[in-house]
Subunit: 441 residues, 2 copies
């Protein structure tokens, strides 16, 4: 099919209004769209998916605790009432800044203002086999793939033979001791415990191992050492082996190589060791900061193209580099508010104001009844931190229905210990394919 | 990978007990497994998926009303407490009756008694393009694929151009006026109405058409004419165009050809016009009845292999052919009870007893507040029939959690009219792939 020409797209253009084009329906993009709801402009949002994804709970989808539909909501549904809002699904391929035009796989779109909020992607730092053979956790399909893979490992291990050591099928390595890795390992330990005790107990399987490897000497390096210690204790109590000071060098789908020449046989490697800005941002011909993030002015504008704003995981403010901005939802939403306020100021002929981050604190959960929290000067852990974590995440979920469904799922799991969503979805691949995770060949 | 030899599988075999091997975890297979829970035998169930699927609600998954996880439950979870039960995921490829051995893609398994309950599959009667280009509705992946496709048609239609008539993108043809086709068309009409009114209303789209084509001169041919009339009225009221006496001859993903040489441009054809016994049964070297069903004795045994029972959609009893046995859950579960009772009798040296079907009645729903019911001599329709339909289906769903989640989803939809599960899941295919439904090339 030929690309649809720009002329044809005037069908969906209110030509007399200025257009703010927003790329990405994550926390930043959504907030930007709603913040502009009362302006006499056209707000056009593009995303490759037709839904907003609540990434902080993605690991619970990957470990069969929540359903994919519970952590995602259709964008059109979220912004159903907003008159000046349009949405299109498309993959942005490039941006023609001089022509103020975004090039997508579906056609081109022009803009008066552009807000880039495409988020981050998994970063394997060029390590051999990680991109292809490891499992990553950035989108909904990743999460379903991890769930499928873990459950399939158990199914596969039941068909054990002498030639094929089933221990490798039941060795689950999580790499990266940040919040994602810690949450993933804790939740995975609970799932495996549930499966082992009631469903595969008579199948003659070996012990399942869950290993969390972190390059640094402590878990949660961005948090206080007391939180690191608490996380380590909680995970050990759940039977997770925590390997500190251990970096992965390569993986081939069967064997993990560590930096001191050690090896581990594991059919599962979940990569939570790093992210970088979305590929789209990395490919732009603009100044970049670390991890492929785009360097912006404190006003979040591109210096050479002041009508372009970059927000969220992919933005880097060189002038404020002493303040490390984590790739977290609060940064994205606060940036969205700043960028849209600056667009409103520009429309009214006012000057641009700089972004200032207000840190709401940090939370990480390690599973049932266990979490660590750092809010302002407060540090707490255990059951109270876990309840705070639950409430904060429920509130942030978009849509009452999703909140209700997630709450019921959590209550169910809490009372029954059941990980209910244990379906291996998707056409079952042939045996040879199922043997290797990811796109590893 | 080489096939795992039989010897290796002794690991999972209690060698001193007789083994009942059940193929298929549908209504029949599950009921058979639970019916044998107190017997001193080994019950081994095989299915290609690790979950039991509640097929009667599959069309609601396809039309974004329910989540896939709500109509399916992991088999290991359902039978968690049953001591004599084992489960394996595998695809059965063939059966070696003389050796009493089932050949799967994972290895071979022996049996003392075999219960075949693999169900039915979509039957395109060899019509050109139907198998490849039409959408079918037999398993969970089919349902998600239909949901993805319908939503993608709307997304795609928003990128309309002069060369590409968007009407074909918004023309949805359902073929087959049985309960599945009627339910699908009614539910699809409600989904389309919801999308059109609130989410795509400003996109300049043409009217969406939903057409239900049935070869016979009335809908629901297996039910009373009053029910047929009620279904026709309800569907017309929802804006569905019902074409009676119209048979499809071919489809290429773009254009439907009807038997009188008429054509319809439609990018969606949902095939609900026929099923046949599962391919496994059709390939067996045994006597067959119509639609590839296996001919069995009134005791449900194969005449040549009395240790083999066939139950459910794939069974045909020539001696009782005057009684048409529909491919429905009640037939499968009643047959499962007969077959397992006969196995128990055989173990005790008693003679086999014949199967007798007790018809619990028929129900079909056409959407919100509308259904038709025939229970014994009772005939009713409208709101009351709809409530009966809801209650019957909720009760039949396996597991309290699924019942609760489905009940909430239904209540939510009833109160808000929202079809909440409108996610296009799965890696977004390239533009050219997304253009054609199914595996049509």
């Amino acid at each position: 099919m030929d690309k649809i020409s720009i002329i044809k797209l005037t069908v969906i253009t209110k030509t007399n209004l200025k257009r703010v084009l927003i790329v990405g329906a994550g926390f930043g993009g959504l907030r930007a769209a709603t913040a502009l709801r009362s302006e006499p402009i056209e707000v056009l949002l593009i995303d490759r998916n037709n839904y907003h994804l609540f990434q902080p709970l993605l690991y619970q989808v990957a470990t069969a605790g929540l359903e994919p539909e519970q952590v995602a909501r259709p964008v059109r549904g979220i912004l159903r009432g907003q008159e000046n809002f349009r949405f299109l699904t498309a993959e942005v391929e490039a941006i023609d800044f001089p022509a103020r035009r975004v090039i997508t796989d579906r056609g081109d779109l022009t803009y008066d203002y552009l807000i880039l909020a495409p988020g981050a992607e998994s970063n394997s730092f060029g390590l051999p086999g990680i991109a292809e053979c490891a499992l990553h956790l950035k989108d909904l399909d990743d999460a379903v793939q991890i769930r499928n893979h873990i459950l399939r490992c158990f199914e596969r291990a039941t068909w054990e033979s002498q030639n094929d050591l089933p221990q490798a099928w039941l060795t689950f390595l999580v790499v990266g001791g940040g919040p994602t890795g810690v949450e993933m390992a804790g939740s995975l330990a609970e799932l495996v415990q549930y499966l082992r005790s009631g469903e595969f107990h008579s199948m003659g399987l070996p012990r399942a191992r869950i290993i969390l490897a972190e390059m640094a000497q402590r878990l949660l390096p961005e948090m206080q050492t007391s939180s690191s210690k608490a996380a380590l204790e909680s995970l050990s109590g759940k039977g997770v082996e925590v390997w500190l000071g251990r970096a992965v060098r390569a993986y081939d789908g069967f064997k993990v190589e560590f930096d001191h020449g050690e090896y581990l046989e594991a059919r599962t490697l979940i990569w939570a060791a790093g992210v970088s800005a979305a590929g789209l941002l990395q490919r732009l011909d603009v100044p970049h900061g670390p991890l492929g993030r785009v360097a912006v002015l404190p006003t979040l504008q591109l210096e050479a193209h002041p009508e372009v704003y970059v927000i969220g995981d992919g933005a880097y403010i060189p002038a404020q580099r002493e303040e490390a901005l984590p790739m977290m939802a609060p940064v994205a939403t606060q940036m969205a508010e700043r960028a849209t306020a600056n667009i409103r100021r520009d429309l009214r002929g006012q000057s641009q104001a700089p972004f200032r981050y207000k840190d709401p604190g940090r939370l990480a959960t390690i599973g049932r009844n266990a979490a660590v929290a750092e809010i302002g000067r407060l540090r707490f852990r255990g059951f109270l931190a876990w309840v705070v974590w639950l409430v904060v995440h429920l509130i942030q979920l978009v849509g009452f229905r999703n909140r209700l469904m997630v709450l019921i799922s959590w209550a169910w799991e809490y009372l029954t210990y059941e990980r209910a969503v244990r379906l291996i979805q998707g056409r079952l691949p042939a045996v040879s394919e199922a043997e290797v995770p990811g796109e590893c060949s």
